[in-house]
Subunit: 375 residues, 2 copies
């Protein structure tokens, strides 16, 4: 089978068209963030305090004296729907990879603040007890979860496996992971206070779409001539390509610490794509001079969804799953540490003094301060 | 309106009939527990170790040197469906109470191991962005979540508010909470190693059904003459009574510590009702000589579902939301500490040498070792 040619005149498919309306969610998010911020003071009664700079970061950090504790809960999102459809089409279960995706959502966020992940808890809420009756699928989920814990050196503490008929859709599963870690020694804290002009931007390669942008990717499948079985490259279907498990980046951040490299800041490139590089609230210009190779499935989506580079890089990771902001002198060694672990890496640019914006020079695109309203 | 009389010859409604089939879930749970147990060894690479006795307990505990860290993720279950139906019937939102229920599921489990809860993360997965457009409901959820954090003195760290169309049912929300706490000083660890004959069993009162047994309670609503609006007591509808928020017990366990009382063990009385008193793996006989007053809504459910005491106490909390196993000499003071905080308490019985069983003398019922297969 030949990869399908992009449609000639099809309309652009944007993330908003794919069904997630942030305008409806954002007021709640803001109200919740405000209420949450007011609770940080409770820690004083226990003799502790929050790391205020972690509010709005990917993980919440508390100073408990000898070290910091970071914690998080993250959900997989809608990638499981692709696994379900591909299981229907091919007969095999993809839930081993889905398990890794779910853990990656939590771990890759937790490590941005400099934490070593220690414990993962599983949240597997099924639409009914029957979900668990498919032994192949259930065993794949367990095996994949275990393997991802092994890769990251975390203990799987336990979790919840409720059957929630009427809340979770029939035949579906809502997957999430919570994770607790330590920032130890405390100097590993990377909430961006040391981030500044001259720092290098190192991008770690992604394996594909990871677990963000799936609403659009699923919508696109409806337009493709053979749906999920449409080839992306010869022998690789769109569904299989989408289901490549998310890279777990904690082995890299742990190895960097052992190599004496403490990033000034990290950004997990998830929803909003490269706009996540603008995540830190400080005013800096982020100039990208080299972009990594785009994973075939993301190039395929861009073409078939008829997106220009600005839309694509503002939505998807486009080959870069995680960004490390390090001292310029550490940049090449950061690349070497990652590549020794099998994760391709690239010194992609640097931070400069200037207005808050991201300039991707090779593509002649730019995102301003307003590109990422929500942190 | 007069409270409805129990039906004369209606069939008994058991938990299994209400739609949760543990036979389908349990093999996965066992496989997951086995895989999870194998990951505990990863902590050694970080210089830490798991508290093996916490495997199978309500929260997972890691020894990080100066103190223990406990973590957990818990889901609300199907109580939100009652809130949705009551909102349809009465026009008001019950999500402030639902927020408390969700946090209670996590906090009341976390404290069983002796932990002080420090950080809560919110997991609010809606069936679509539209869920968040109902501002009254969204604000109630935020306000209730904040208030519960205030009650427990925990920091609300953040969370996830995904819109998961196709996974979470349309118009519904899947609510869960993760919680991280410290056992500090380490002597507060209560995983049951000191539990033994002579210990007193102190029961803390519940506010109603809490958030367990709702599948059955919802099924029962279909049988009632006025459904959720059927009065339980004059002026109190079945729906309102069900929606009484779960008691948050961490103020009690924190006050006990300040009073110099360290429980030998705790059991959060949730699914499987009083069978949870048999939770600890050791072989002891638990003899109950006094039972607390049964909350009216639970008495109502027992009558209308035509359950005998064995079925009712094996399913619901029947007025006892949390069990503290303390030294006999601490029992009365434990009651006093709880009641000073407005939580009714009762010295209900004691632990004796003997086969593993729970004897509820006032009701002439008994549960054996086989009553709680899964921990």
């Amino acid at each position: 089978m030949k990869p399908a040619a992009p449609p000639e005149r099809s309309a652009t498919l944007s993330y908003e068209q794919a069904g997630v309306d942030y305008d409806l969610i954002d007021p709640l998010k803001v109200a919740a963030q405000r209420a949450a911020a007011a609770t940080g003071a409770h820690l004083a009664a226990h003799g502790f305090s929050e790391v205020a700079a972690s509010r709005g970061e990917s993980a919440y950090v508390v100073d408990v004296g000898p070290f910091y504790i970071a914690s998080i809960v993250e959900c997989l999102g809608s990638k499981a729907l692709v696994a379900d459809e591909m299981q229907r089409l091919t007969g095999r279960s993809y839930y081993d990879g889905i398990a890794q995706d779910t853990i990656a959502m939590a771990i890759n966020d937790l490590i941005t603040v400099g934490a070593t992940p220690l414990v993962v808890q599983a949240y597997w809420a099924a639409g009914g007890s029957e979900w668990f009756a498919d032994a192949q699928r259930a065993n794949a989920l367990v095996a994949g979860w275990k393997r991802a814990c092994d890769t990251c050196g975390v203990a799987w503490g336990g979790g919840e496996t409720p059957a929630l008929a009427g809340i979770v859709a029939d035949g579906r599963i809502d997957l999430a992971a919570s994770c607790t870690g330590l920032i130890n020694p405390k100097e590993r804290l990377s909430v961006g206070d040391k981030l500044g002009p001259g720092d290098a931007i190192v991008l770690l390669s992604s394996s594909g779409i990871h677990a963000n942008g799936l609403s659009l990717a699923r919508k696109l499948a409806e337009r493709l001539p053979q749906g999920y079985l449409t080839p992306v490259t010869p022998g690789l279907s769109y569904g299989d390509a989408l289901l490549a498990p998310t890279v777990l980046y904690s082995p890299v951040t742990e190895a960097l610490y052992k190599a004496g490299i403490t990033p000034h800041y990290c950004a997990n490139i998830t929803g909003h794509g490269w706009r996540k590089l603008l995540r830190h609230p400080a005013t800096h210009t982020y100039r990208i001079h080299s972009v990594p190779q785009v994973t075939p499935v993301l190039k395929f989506i861009q073409q078939h969804a008829n997106q220009d580079d600005r839309e694509a890089y503002g939505t998807f990771n486009m080959g870069a799953g995680f960004a490390l902001f390090v001292k310029a002198e550490d940049a090449q060694r950061t690349v070497a540490v990652a590549e020794a672990l099998g994760v391709q890496a690239l010194v992609a640019g640097q931070i400069e003094t200037g207005a808050k914006r991201l300039i991707i020079e090779p593509l002649s695109i730019e995102f301003g301060d307003d590109a990422l309203q929500l942190r």
